[in-house]
């Protein structure tokens, strides 16, 4: 086993227009680890994921996936790296014009020269893994929310990636289906030795699946530690996030009036 971290983020700074979104993020994720990235809305966790999967280029700092810096990478290197990573988006992002089977098969068709019989078998195997066998011919619009997420997961793992990114696996699902997805994520890690990054705001899910939790707040990384330590943290904002306490900041009257009158 390789001792070097599979994902290594160093001094990451990102901007949206002139607004700084992420500020000096440092994070290492080891092989086979499940890391949950948590934070309230607007904390920057979804933005962070977009940078991790190479959809946006950082303003400063570096992101190394499997030892390679994705900010300074040729198109061909990036293309090869894409085969090693799978992403399941929050809304599934299944291609609406393609059936479930075609969605799952697409990465294989694009990246491999396998014949279509083999591709069919491989995609069916992945659909079995996520308990979606038998739904091959349906269109995404005909599926429920939980089914869409499971198909998206099947598509993300169809190339047997080393890295799996999952955006909000349990958002919008009922507790039973959400728990099933959590089990599925754990099984995948054990069976395929994947490194998994999950962005979530569901505490229960994070506690259950994560080895470590990274907490983002206002674009800064507040804490990265094991579930146990995060739970016992005495940081006020972390406790607010964990215990659903509202976090009203003391109102500065003068500032407030200034904002109103502009």
């Amino acid at each position: 086993m390789n001792d070097k971290p599979v994902i290594e983020v160093r001094n990451l700074v990102t901007h949206y227009g002139n607004t700084k979104i992420l500020d000096n993020i440092n994070l290492k994720i080891d092989k086979g680890e499940i890391m949950a990235i948590m934070g309230g809305s607007g904390s920057g966790k979804s933005t962070f994921l977009r940078y991790l999967i190479g959809l946006n280029k950082p303003s400063a700092g570096s992101i190394r996936l499997l030892g390679k810096d994705i900010a300074h990478m040729s198109e061909n290197e990036m293309y090869d790296l894409r085969k090693e990573m799978g992403v399941a988006f929050q809304g599934g992002a299944l291609f609406g014009s393609m059936t479930v089977a075609e969605n799952v098969q697409l990465p294989l068709r694009e990246h491999t020269k396998l014949d279509s019989k083999t591709i069919q078998i491989m995609s069916r195997m992945k659909l079995e893994v996520v308990n979606m066998a038998g739904f091959e011919k349906l269109l995404p619009a005909e599926l429920s929310g939980g089914m869409v997420k499971r198909v998206a997961l099947a598509r993300a793992i169809v190339m047997d990636p080393k890295l799996l990114f999952f955006d909000e696996p349990s958002a919008g699902l009922d507790p039973v289906v959400a728990a099933e997805l959590d089990d599925l994520i754990l099984r995948l890690r054990d069976a395929m030795d994947m490194t998994i990054v999950v962005v979530t705001h569901e505490l229960e899910s994070a506690y259950k699946i994560a080895d470590r939790i990274a907490i983002l707040d206002k674009g800064k990384l507040l804490m990265v530690d094991t579930v146990e330590n995060v739970r016992n943290s005495d940081n006020e904002r972390i406790q607010a996030l964990l215990n659903r306490r509202s976090m009203e900041e003391a109102v500065d009257t003068e500032e407030y009036l200034k904002r109103l009158t502009n």
């Binding site: 977009r50 999967i53 190479g54 959809l55 198109e75 061909n76 990036m78 293309y79 894409r82 085969k83 990573m85 992403v87 988006f89 929050q90 809304g91 992002a93 299944l94 291609f95 609406g96 014009s97 697409l106 990465p107 694009e110 990246h111 598509r155």
Partner: protein, 262 residues
């Protein structure tokens, strides 16, 4: 006054921006068509055929009907206009030239802009909103190669083909009216059409149709890729795309008619 000049200035800059974006998109399409194969991302023939079917084959009937109607209309107007001078028989030359040089490409262009241009913008805009474009990029599929290039090529095939079909149907529409009104046989009518037409007339129409194909493809694609703001954004972009395509088509038609008749 100053506000007005500012407004005109801003509009001009954003228009130049738009033209720049379209040029880059076109260059990108050409790039993937030419070198896609060497980067393992060939533009697939099957995709081009399926797009060309949607744009061309499925519009063949309605486009033929419209061109036929325009032919009949031209014949009626021509006969009525020329009757006082006793020159009704010259109407055939008029129909032959105006259908091939002007009306077939223009009618086909406007029809396809409304029919396929809107569909392309809406499809790409929706895919952008539902993160399907992100999903493509994450799988390692270049969206321009996968979504845009096949549309561009299909337009270059479908619009000129429909224009040739429109030429026939328009001339035939004229024939139906002229032959009954002036009591000449269809054979004589088409003989006179052929003696009035030169290859240059057909080419003029075809050159225009290729320009229109370019306009529809690039305007509808670039509007689709620039959708912002949810379902309403898709609607706005679709309207914009159709209005812009038709406006550019008519302006380009004027310019090319002027240049080609020098």
């Amino acid at each position: 006054m100053r506000q007005f000049i500012e407004y005109v200035g801003q509009k001009t800059v954003s228009w130049l921006d738009e033209i720049g974006y379209m040029s880059v998109l076109f260059a990108d399409c050409i790039y993937w068509i030419l070198v896609g194969k060497s980067k393992k991302q060939a533009v697939k023939i099957a995709d081009i055929i399926s797009e060309a079917t949607k744009i061309g084959v499925n519009a063949a009937l309605i486009s033929s009907l419209l061109c036929f109607a325009v032919g009949v209309m031209l014949a009626i107007q021509g006969v009525e206009t020329l009757k006082p001078y006793g020159a009704e028989s010259k109407v055939i030359t008029g129909i032959a030239l105006s259908i091939t040089r002007e009306f077939a490409p223009l009618i086909v262009g406007i029809l396809i802009a409304g029919r396929s241009g809107s569909a392309i913008t809406a499809r790409i805009g929706t895919m952008l909103q539902s993160q399907e474009i992100d999903a493509l990029r994450v799988i390692g599929i270049n969206p321009v190669r996968f979504l845009a290039a096949p549309v561009l090529l299909a337009m270059f095939i479908a619009v000129p083909t429909l224009t040739v079909l429109g030429d026939f149907m328009g001339l035939y529409g004229g024939a139906v009216y002229v032959s009954s009104e002036l009591h000449i046989s269809l054979g004589v009518y088409f003989e006179r059409v052929l003696s009035a037409l030169s290859l240059a007339d057909i080419y003029q129409g075809l050159i225009k149709s290729i320009v229109f194909a370019y306009i529809i493809a690039i305007v509808s694609l670039s509007n689709g890729f620039q959708v912002r703001g949810g379902a309403e954004g898709v609607g706005t972009a679709t309207t914009r795309s159709v209005v812009a395509s038709i406006s550019y088509i008519i302006l380009a038609d004027m310019v090319f008619t002027f240049l080609l008749n020098q």
